[in-house]
C-alpha cells in the first residue's frame, strides 16, 4: 500500500504555503555533516508478500505439545476476546489523556482494576504493568518506598526469570537482596525466620511456587508484619479460581503475569503484568490508575487519577518511570474473565488441577521417575529423573513434546529434575503420550 496520501500537486501547494521550494529544504536545520552515512534497507513490498514472508518464518518453528510454563501458559482463549479487543476504537487509541473522548478505555480499565481486585482480594489495582517479572520488581520497589527500608528477602522458589528481572532492577540501588534457597520447592521457613529483621522491607514469595507447590502464606504474613515489613506475593491468576487469595492470606502487594487471562503466547508477549494492594499503599503504587468521578451534570465517568505519582508530572520523583503499559492486553484479560464468568473461571481452575493430577499419577507410575513436589499442586509439579533432564527434554523435543523445564540451569544440583506443566488444553491422549514416550526413553532402550 501507499502509506502517504500526498499527490504531487498537493505537495507543491503545501510547500508554497510554507514558503520553501522543496521538502528537503525543511531538513536544512540539520547540519550536512550529521546526515546519515548509510540507510541500507531492503526495498518495500506489498502486504501479500509481507504475509508470505511471515508465514515462511512461522513454518520454520515446529509444532510442539507444551508441558512447560516458565510464567507463560498455554490456555484456551474464547473467540470473543480476539473479536472485541480487535475493535479498532480500542486498539488505535492512545493513553486516555482526554477522558471525555476515552470513556470506553477508561471504563474498561476501571472494570479491569475491579476484576483484579476481586481475584486477589485487594482493594486497589493499577491499570497494568509490562509483565509478571517487571511487576514483581515494581512491587519490591513499592515496598522499599512504603517502608523506607533497604533489605528484601526473596524466596528462591520464585520463577528464576522473575528473580533475574528483580536483580536487574535493583542492581544499581542501595538495596540488599537476600535469596532464600528453597526446601522441597517451597520457602525455607527456618531460613526465613533467621533472616527476617527490622531492616526488611519485604518478603517476596510466589504461589504456586516455580516448582508447582501450593502454600498458605497467612502465618508468614503475620511474621513479616510483626517486623514491620510487607509480604509481596506473585500469583498465577488462573490458580486464583481455586486458591486462597492474597488478600485472605494477608499479602500486602500481589503481582502476577496476566498472559494466562486471554493473551496469546505470541513467543513471549505482549501480555500484561498486574499489581494490587491494600488501599493504604495506593500513593506508592506505580503506573496509571483509573478512578471514578462525575461530570458537570453529575453523571458517572472515569479519569486517570493520582497522576501526581507519575513521571509526566513528577519526573525523577515519580513512583516509577512507566508510561505506556499493556492496556490492550489488560482489556483482553477483562474480556476473558467476563466471558468465563464467576463459575466458568472456577471450572477452568478445576480442569487445570484435574489434568495435572492425572499427569502426576501417570508420570509417577514410570520406573525411575519420582515426584518431588510433596505439597499440594495446582497445574505444575516437579519430577526427578534417573538421567539428566536436559538430555531427556532435548530428545523429546525431537518427538514433538516439550516435556518440562529442566531445573539444572536455574538450581544447583537439580540437573536431573524438571517442572511439568499441564493446562486444560492438554488432552488425556497428549498426557498419555508424554508418559509413554518418557517410559520408552527411560526404560526400553
Amino acid at each position: 500500500m501507499n502509506f502517504t496520501p500526498h499527490t504531487p500537486a498537493e505537495i507543491r501547494e503545501m510547500l508554497a504555503t510554507i514558503g520553501v521550494g522543496s521538502i528537503q529544504e525543511l531538513f536544512n536545520p540539520i547540519p550536512a555533516e550529521l546526515r546519515a552515512r548509510s540507510f541500507d534497507l531492503p526495498a518495500g513490498m506489498s502486504e501479500f508478500e509481507m504475509l508470505d514472508r511471515l508465514q515462511d518464518l512461522a513454518a520454520q518453528n515446529c509444532a510442539i505439545t507444551p508441558f512447560v510454563g516458565g510464567g507463560y501458559y498455554d490456555h484456551l482463549i474464547p473467540a470473543a476476546v480476539d473479536h472485541l479487543a480487535g475493535r479498532s476504537e480500542f486498539y488505535t487509541a492512545y493513553t486516555p489523556y482526554q477522558p471525555e473522548a476515552s470513556q470506553g478505555s477508561l471504563q474498561a480499565l476501571f472494570e479491569y482494576q475491579t476484576a483484579i481486585c476481586r481475584l486477589t482480594g485487594h482493594d486497589v489495582s493499577n491499570a497494568s504493568l509490562y509483565d509478571g517479572g517487571t511487576a514483581l520488581a515494581e512491587a519490591a520497589l513499592m515496598a522499599l518506598r512504603a517502608t523506607s527500608r533497604s533489605r528484601v528477602l526473596v524466596d528462591g522458589a520464585i520463577n528464576p526469570f522473575h528473580r533475574s528481572i528483580l536483580k536487574t532492577y535493583l542492581a544499581n540501588l542501595d538495596v540488599e537482596i537476600v535469596e532464600l534457597a528453597p526446601v522441597d520447592g517451597m520457602l525455607d521457613l527456618q531460613a526465613f525466620a533467621r533472616e527476617l529483621d527490622e531492616r526488611c522491607a519485604a518478603l517476596l514469595v510466589q504461589n504456586p511456587t516455580f516448582f508447582g507447590a501450593v502454600a498458605d502464606y497467612s502465618q508468614v504474613a503475620e511474621q513479616v508484619h510483626g517486623c514491620g515489613g510487607l509480604l509481596v506475593a506473585s500469583v498465577y491468576p488462573v490458580a486464583l479460581g481455586l486458591l486462597k487469595s492474597p488478600g485472605e492470606m494477608g499479602v500486602d502487594i500481589a503481582v502476577g503475569d496476566g498472559q494466562s487471562l486471554g493473551n496469546h503466547l505470541s513467543f513471549g508477549g505482549p501480555a500484561f503484568g498486574f499489581i494490587s494492594a491494600s488501599k493504604k499503599y495506593i500513593r506508592n503504587m506505580p503506573g496509571r490508575i483509573v478512578g471514578e468521578t462525575v461530570d458537570r451534570e453529575g453523571r458517572r465517568g472515569f479519569v486517570l487519577t493520582l497522576q501526581a505519582r507519575e513521571q509526566h508530572i513528577k519526573r525523577h520523583k515519580a513512583t516509577s518511570n512507566i508510561c505506556s503499559n499493556q492496556s490492550l492486553c489488560a482489556l483482553r484479560g477483562l474480556i476473558f474473565l467476563a466471558a468465563l464468568g464467576r463459575q466458568g473461571f472456577v471450572e477452568l481452575a478445576l480442569l487445570n488441577r484435574d489434568k495435572a493430577e492425572y499427569a502426576k499419577s501417570a508420570l509417577a507410575a514410570i520406573k525411575g521417575v519420582k515426584i518431588l513436589t510433596v505439597a499440594p499442586i495446582f497445574n505444575e509439579f516437579t519430577v526427578s529423573l534417573p538421567v539428566e533432564a536436559d538430555r531427556l527434554v532435548s530428545e523429546l523435543i525431537g518427538r514433538g513434546i516439550a516435556a518440562g523445564v529442566p531445573l539444572g540451569p536455574y538450581y544447583q544440583g537439580a540437573g536431573n529434575c524438571m517442572v511439568v506443566t499441564v493446562t486444560e488444553k492438554r488432552s488425556r491422549g497428549e498426557i498419555d503420550r508424554l508418559a509413554t514416550e518418557l517410559d520408552m526413553l527411560l526404560n526400553q532402550n
Binding site: F3, I23, F39, M50, Q103, S324, A339, I397
Partner: protein, 479 residues
C-alpha cells in the same frame, strides 16, 4: 453506562469450558482454598459482546478520527500488520530456552535477529536488543547498560543530565537506576542551553539523555558537539527515540555520536498504541555496550542458524520475561518490510511536511514560542487566547466536539499553555485543512465567545469530569 458488574445476573453463563477427559482430582486442603469464588460478572456471551462493543463506541482512535497527539506519533496502523502478528500467536517462548529447543523456534529467532539488524541499520548502532517492553522500559534498560559499562571500567559516576524539555520518562528512568538528575534549561533558541550544559558537565556525569528533534519539534544543530563534550568526560549519550519518525534516512543517531538509542515501535514503526500499550522499546548500542546487553540474547551462529545466549556474566540480566513484546515486533517488522528504504524516508519527509504546513497555517492566530522550521511536530502556545481566559484545555475540548482527538496540551512543560501538534505522515492535505479550519474557528471563538469554549465538550458521553473528586475519593475499584 452501566458497569459490567452491574449487568451481572446470578447463574447466567457465557463461554463453557470443555468437559474433562480425566478423573476429577481430590479437593485441595481447605486452608489452601479461597472462601468463595472470585466475584466475576455472570453474563451471556451476547451481553459481553454488547458491553464491550458499546464501550468501544465511547472511544476514538486513529481509525475513527484525526489524532494529532504531539509526541505520540499517532500514524495509521495498517490492517495487514494485525494479520501478520496473528501468525505468531501459538508459539510458546519457553520452547526456545529448552535444551534442543532453539531448532524448534528458528522462525521466531530469525525474525528477532533480522529485526535487530534492521533497527541497527536504521539507527546506526552496532547491536539491538528487542527485549524492552515499552519506550520508558528501553530508557531504563539503556541507562542500566550505561551503569554496567561505568561499573566495569571502575568509573565513579553519579549524575545523569537531561534537558528540561525532555519527556518525564527520561529523568524517571535514570532515577530508577539510582542516578541523580541534573536538569539543563532550554535556551531562547529552543535547544538545550549549551553554556549551562558545559557548566554542569564533569567527571561524575554518567550519561546525557537527549531527544532529537526535541519535544519542541526542533533539531538541535549542536547535537554532535554535545556528544563530543560528553565523551570527553567518558559520559555516554542516550538518544530518546520518541521523535525518530522525523529523521528516518536523514540522520542516524549512531553516526552523530550517540551510544545508546531506544526506538518506540508503537510510534515510529506503525504499531497501534492499544489505548496505552502494548508498546515495544528496542534498544540499540555501540560496541562498548554490547557485552552488557540483557539476556536472553538472540544470536546468529556460524552455521547460519539462530540461537539464544543466556550465560554472559557481564550482562545486566533480564529486563523482561522472555524476548520482549514479540507480537508488537512482528507488526513493526511487517511495517519495515512493507515500507522498505524508500517508504521510511518518505514517511519522515511527509511527517515533516505536514507539521510545517500546519504551523504555517496557524501561526498567525496561535503564538509559536520557538518560531523556526520544525520537524515532525509543532508547538504552539495558547498565550494569546489566555487574554480571553481561554486555556489550551478549552481549545482541546472544543476540538473533541468537532470530531478530533486534541493535540497534546500542557507538554512540553517549558511552554506555557502548550499545544503540541503532530499530524504524522499518513494524513492527507484535506484532513489537515479541515483540522486547521477548526483550529482557526477555535481561535476566533476564543475572542468572540470564550464562554462557549468553556462548555465544551457537549457531544461526548460525559462532559468535563471532576478530576479533583477522583483524586480525593480514590474510588478505583467497584464495590
Amino acid at each position: 453506562m452501566q458497569l459490567i458488574y452491574e449487568k451481572s445476573v446470578p447463574a447466567r453463563r457465557a463461554v463453557r469450558m470443555p468437559s474433562s477427559d480425566v478423573p476429577a482430582a481430590a479437593m485441595l486442603p481447605r486452608e489452601l482454598l479461597r472462601s468463595e469464588p472470585a466475584d466475576l460478572p455472570e453474563l451471556s456471551e451476547l451481553d459481553v459482546v454488547r458491553h464491550f462493543t458499546q464501550l468501544s463506541r465511547r472511544n476514538i482512535g486513529v481509525d475513527t478520527t484525526f489524532y494529532p497527539l504531539g509526541s505520540c506519533t499517532m500514524k495509521y496502523n495498517a490492517k495487514s500488520l494485525e494479520d501478520g502478528a496473528r501468525i505468531s500467536a501459538p508459539f510458546h517462548p519457553m520452547i526456545a530456552l529448552l535444551p534442543g529447543g532453539e531448532s524448534c523456534a528458528q522462525g521466531s529467532l530469525a525474525m528477532l535477529h533480522h529485526m535487530g539488524e534492521l533497527l541497527a541499520e536504521i539507527t546506526g548502532m552496532d547491536e539491538v536488543t528487542c527485549q524492552p517492553l515499552a519506550g520508558a522500559h528501553g530508557e531504563m534498560t539503556g541507562i542500566m547498560l550505561i551503569a554496567a559499562y561505568h561499573r566495569a571500567k571502575g568509573n565513579k559516576k553519579k549524575y545523569v543530565i537531561v534537558p528540561d524539555s525532555s519527556h518525564g520518562t527520561n529523568p524517571a528512568s535514570a532515577a530508577m537506576v539510582g542516578y541523580e538528575i541534573v536538569t539543563i534549561p532550554t535556551a531562547p533558541y529552543g535547544d538545550m542551553d549549551l553554556d549551562a550544559f558545559r557548566a554542569a558537565l564533569n567527571d561524575e556525569v554518567a550519561a546525557v539523555m537527549m531527544t532529537c528533534p526535541n519535544t519542541l519539534g526542533l533539531f538541535n544543530p549542536h547535537i554532535k558537539e554535545i556528544c563530543d563534550l560528553a565523551h570527553s568526560v567518558d559520559a555516554m549519550v542516550y538518544y530518546d527515540g520518541a521523535n525518530l519518525n522525523a529523521i528516518l534516512g536523514q540522520v542516524r543517531p549512531g553516526d552523530v555520536g550517540f551510544d545508546v538509542v531506544h526506538v518506540n515501535l508503537h510510534k515510529t514503526f506503525g504499531t497501534p498504541h492499544g489505548a496505552g500499550g502494548p508498546g515495544s522499546g528496542p534498544v540499540g548500542v555501540k560496541k562498548a555496550l554490547v557485552p552488557f546487553l540483557p539476556m536472553p540474547r538472540v544470536i546468529k551462529r556460524n552455521d547460519a542458524s539462530f540461537g539464544v545466549e543466556t550465560g554472559n556474566p557481564q550482562s545486566i540480566g533480564r529486563t523482561a520475561n522472555f524476548f520482549g513484546n514479540f507480537g508488537v515486533m512482528a507488526k513493526a517488522y511487517a511495517y519495515i518490510l512493507m515500507l522498505g528504504r524508500e517508504g521510511l524516508i518518505d514517511a519522515s519527509e511527509k511527517a515533516v511536511l505536514n507539521a510545517n504546513y500546519v504551523m504555517a497555517r496557524l501561526k498567525d492566530l496561535y503564538e509559536v514560542p520557538y518560531d523556526q522550521t520544525c520537524m515532525h511536530e509543532c508547538v504552539f502556545s495558547a498565550a494569546r487566547q489566555m487574554q480571553h481566559d481561554v486555556h489550551a484545555i478549552d481549545i482541546a475540548k472544543f476540538l473533541i466536539d468537532k470530531g478530533y482527538h486534541p493535540p497534546t496540551v500542557y507538554f512540553p512543560l517549558i511552554v506555557k499553555e502548550a499545544i503540541m501538534i503532530e499530524p504524522t505522515e499518513t494524513e492527507s492535505k484535506e484532513t489537515l485543512d479541515e483540522f486547521i479550519a477548526v483550529m482557526r474557528e477555535a481561535a476566533e471563538t476564543a475572542e468572540t465567545d470564550p464562554a462557549a469554549l468553556k462548555l465544551a465538550p457537549l457531544t461526548t458521553p460525559v462532559s468535563r469530569l471532576d478530576e479533583t473528586k477522583a483524586a480525593r475519593e480514590q474510588n478505583v475499584c467497584f464495590t
